[in-house]
Amino acid sequence: MKFNYAAPVTLEELSELKKGGGKLFSGGTDLFVKMRAGVLKPDLVVDTKKVETPKLECDKGLRIYMNTTYTDILKSGCARKYSLLMKILLEVGSPQIRNRGTPVGNLGNASPAGDFLLSTYVYDSKVIVGPSMREVPVKNFVKGPGKVDLSDEEFIYAVILEPLEGYTTYYEKVGRRNSMVISIASIAVALKIESGVIEDARIAYGSVGPTVVRFTDLEEKLIGERPKKELFESLAMEYSDRVKPITDVRASAEYRKKLTGNLLIKAYLNMNL
């Protein structure tokens, strides 16, 4: 497989090269695997790492810029209060993958199994799209498996996570995520409880639909309630009914549906509310 390589130093050049059909990459941990498997055959790959961008900013929400790796975030002091994010990032791949892979690449790949992507749904994140720097909520940005709201000249510049203060959180991934194979299912939960009553609830699932999913009407059923086991058990059944997973080599759709509900009950039991 032969292809050309470009490494622009400005965002304008990067945008031009992408418009001309170049395939962007930062860590290459998704792109090169797909090229190796013959799923993608670009004539030109565009390395984004020579463009000078900030790494992280923590003052107004957490801003993660392109080319910032998982390891950069895990080692930075200022991102530490995003504890759910930290839990999730520690489970991505392996040290070698975290040293090269980037959250922005995870977003660009838009896999329903993407672990960083899962976290962005819970943190009500926004994507900053270059070169115009327009901001889009992540749930509108991701259109389907591998599909994102970017025109030919557009690219992801950064993503902003809003802090979750006073929330109890939970994360679990079932089945190891391999390079080409998606995990069986994953869940991320954030609950805010004030004087024994649930004030806010965010529940996101990975790998049980074409994108990461959150059902706000089901989340609302928790608001104003006390966190009782029965409540979560009945909600778990509704989640199992609602999700539309697929059958693949790793698990059947039926199994994933059952798992969806069970993961919520497990999250409840582990959060010690």
């Binding site: 292809f3 290459g28 941990t29 090169f32 695997v33 498997a37 390395d47 070698q96």
Partner: protein, 159 residues
């Protein structure tokens, strides 16, 4: 396709080379630079046999292009041994953590990165640090023992 000139530090010495834009760092280091400790296993980021150190962090050379090495500080097992840092490979050999040996260079490289950062790792730290390296022979118990032994030797504790 026009070759691209790169210059980078390989095992402590600056080198220059012309590389095809599509050549993987793995093939370049192994075939052009003669660094045969860099092994090709899965070619998709799973097995860790191709692990090298770039600017102090361990990465898969199978998921990296040779051109990306430009300007970087790159280490392979050859350089680690040549520079006299043999305590890790010796610990692996002494403890019996090497069977077929195919995975061993990758494990030693990942062990070096761990011990440079954390000279006193707990068992969980060791497991986490070696998550990206697969061994089909040893069953890992000896490897974990070897890392603990290497850590003792690095700290200068008597073993």
């Amino acid at each position: 396709m026009i070759a691209i000139k790169i210059s980078f530090k390989l095992n402590g010495k600056w080198v220059e080379a012309d590389v095809e834009p599509y050549k993987r760092a793995l093939d370049f280091l192994r075939d052009d630079m003669g660094m045969t400790s860099v092994k090709e296993g899965c070619s998709e980021g799973e097995c860790g046999a191709c692990t090298i150190i770039v600017n102090g962090r361990n990465v898969h050379s199978c998921l990296m292009l040779a051109v990306e090495l430009d300007g970087k500080d790159v280490w392979t097992l050859e350089g680690i041994i040549e520079s006299g840092e043999t305590y890790i490979s010796e610990a692996y050999a002494d403890v019996g953590a090497v069977q077929c040996g195919f995975c061993t260079p990758g494990f030693i490289v990942s062990t070096k990165v761990l011990l440079d950062e954390n000279p006193n790792p707990k068992e969980e730290d060791i497991k986490k640090a070696l998550e990206g390296n697969i061994c089909r022979c040893t069953g890992y118990a000896r490897i974990i023992e070897a890392v603990k032994e290497a850590a003792r030797r690095k700290r200068g504790d008597a073993s």
